[in-house]
Symmetry: C2
Subunit: 319 residues, 2 copies
DNA sequence: ATATTGAGGACAGATCCTGGCCTAAACCAT
DNA sequence: ATGGTTTAGGCCAGGATCTGTCCTCAATAT
């Protein structure tokens, strides 16, 4: 019955590729009689995929949205677009679907033909990183780790700790957690026989070792909460408070919500609060707003801006 | 044979959801005998989807990447993640896959169940807009128009021309073109009986009228080229040449290749060339390098940097 | 060495598929 | 209003396919 099944898939593919299909044309494409097409449509309906039909001239078949997702039949370019889209969503989005994006990406990359994979990574490396994005996570690392989590396979990687000290690790990955703009890996460190959290942008060349492990009970039910807690003893973090000379509304449109909060002061000024671990990005983020502003705190930011201003003035050269 | 076909799809779905599956477990899930599972695997292989198998304890089946994309079987969350990812990719990416992203998005949205669609638009509206992105295109508009292009259906919308004058249009859409960071619609304007290009971020509430039309011959073979030509009064584009006081090697690591080229001058300085349509972006990009530099050209960039420096100095407040 | 897991041939009975033919109903355009 | 076009679906007969069972063999991990 490989014949019928593959024909059904082809039919689905056709119906997904264009909206309206006359029965006769489908019969031609599938190289079967019109009667069989009608039966195939019936079968698809039986499978839960709602196929509408219109009689009369200009009639035909049309796949509608149903209660459940039908299998998506993608051509090469579309698969690439989805892979690239998921990669950017996984690292740049703010909507709280990052984990799901990575899961979908793993599913897709598992079956992505090699030549497409090459094209994706070619495009992926050309993908722009947000100007003020800080250290970027390699989507490749994310998918390798996520796949290892899913399949209970050990992972080896080089890690550069907060203090800059490098080490090689072999861990049993438990889950990937996205907090703020960062990715963390919660894993059981085999050498240290304990749970550790790793910042994904600090690890290099993660590779699945192929060794399977029996899943352990995580140190807490909610991995995300656990990671957040273990980061609460976080190091120096700059919290900025800045007065912007612009209406809150006009600024809000241009500031992604996770980049901080905007509170109106009056019709013409508002207060912007945001935090980061790096003064450079903090400075750029504020400067990029394109409006006049004043730093309330921290003093380090003022100092940093002054230095930046001097540098820019030097760069601009003589008047 | 709806039974066999749907079982094959379920099997594909299982194989996509996890990597390793023992035959016995598959048999249980599919409620068939182990022999039938082996036959189903054989069928999948016959369809071109490579299923690996390992014998012995800890053996099982595993779906590998093959030569062609298999149908993707997504759960609800994954479908949402893909939709959101494609929406952001379609409007924010710079990789040249925007058109394809929209096409894939149209395909997906055509079959996206209603409750998922609601979740996507809820998330989509919360999606961040790039800080200096200029006017943003509504992904919803893009998909409506792209679907209309694909299905040869007329579209009605309100348009605000370059001079700010509003009008209502009814057009036969031909193609969507992405140039730079903007989207354009090439369409036959029915009232004016001529081809027109519309900037998608300037049109409001596009809606498919349901009226089909017979595709016309476009005014040029390559729609993108045509649009580009008709925009030849294009926005001034800035090409920057900057001398960096840092070794080429150390800078290269921090500059994505498509952001420009780095050429060494001597051991301690190098030249950075890059271009953009927006001076803000250009300035930030260079400033973010974190090294001293001098602007060679264009003069506008120098002027811009001076202004930025003044603003930063003001922002930093008194010494 | 042994147990576990996949591979696959053979067989029999049941099931299902296909194409062809025919009638009904819906719909568009002249 | 009418005729042509398009989907809907019943019926039939011949042929192909599927499934479960039983069996033997090969590969692999403990």
């Amino acid at each position: 019955m490989t014949e019928t099944s593959s024909r059904l898939l082809t039919l689905l593919s056709l119906l997904q590729g264009r909206r309206d299909w006359p029965g006769g044309e489908l019969a031609g494409r599938l190289e079967v009689s019109g009667r069989t097409v009608r039966r195939d449509v019936e079968r698809l309906r039986g499978l839960g995929y709602p196929v509408e039909s219109l009689t009369g001239p200009a009639g035909g078949y049309r796949l509608r949205a149903g209660a459940a997702m039908p299998p998506l039949l993608l051509d090469d370019d579309e698969a690439i677009a989805i892979a690239v889209g998921l990669r950017t969503a996984a690292r740049a989005s703010v909507t709280g679907i990052e984990e799901t994006s990575v899961r979908a990406l793993v599913k897709l990359e598992q079956v992505l033909p090699a030549h497409l994979r090459r094209r994706v990574s070619a495009l992926g490396s050309a993908t722009m990183t947000l100007p003020a994005g800080g250290p970027t996570v390699d989507p490749q690392s994310l998918t390798v780790i996520a796949a290892a989590c899913r399949d209970s396979e050990c992972v080896r990687f080089a890690y550069r700790g907060r203090d800059g000290v490098g080490s090689r690790r072999e861990v049993e990955p438990h889950s990937l957690v996205n907090l703020g703009r960062r990715w963390y890996l919660l894993a059981w460190d085999r050498a240290r026989s304990d749970w550790r959290t790793f910042r994904v942008d600090r690890l290099a060349k993660p590779a699945s070792t192929g060794v399977r492990f029996a899943p352990r009970h995580p140190p807490a039910k909610d991995a995300a909460a656990y990671v957040a807690r273990s980061l609460s003893a976080a190091p120096s973090r700059y919290e900025a408070r800045v007065t912007l000379h612009a209406a809150a509304e006009s600024v809000r449109k241009r500031v992604p919500s996770h980049w901080g909060t905007i509170e109106p002061i009056d019709d013409r000024t508002c207060e912007y609060r945001t935090g980061d671990e790096n003064l450079d990005w903090l400075a750029v983020r504020v400067a990029m707003l394109g409006v006049d502003f004043e730093v309330c705190e921290p003093p380090e930011l003022s100092e940093h801006l002054r230095a930046l201003a001097r540098r820019l003035e030097r760069a601009a050269g003589p008047q």
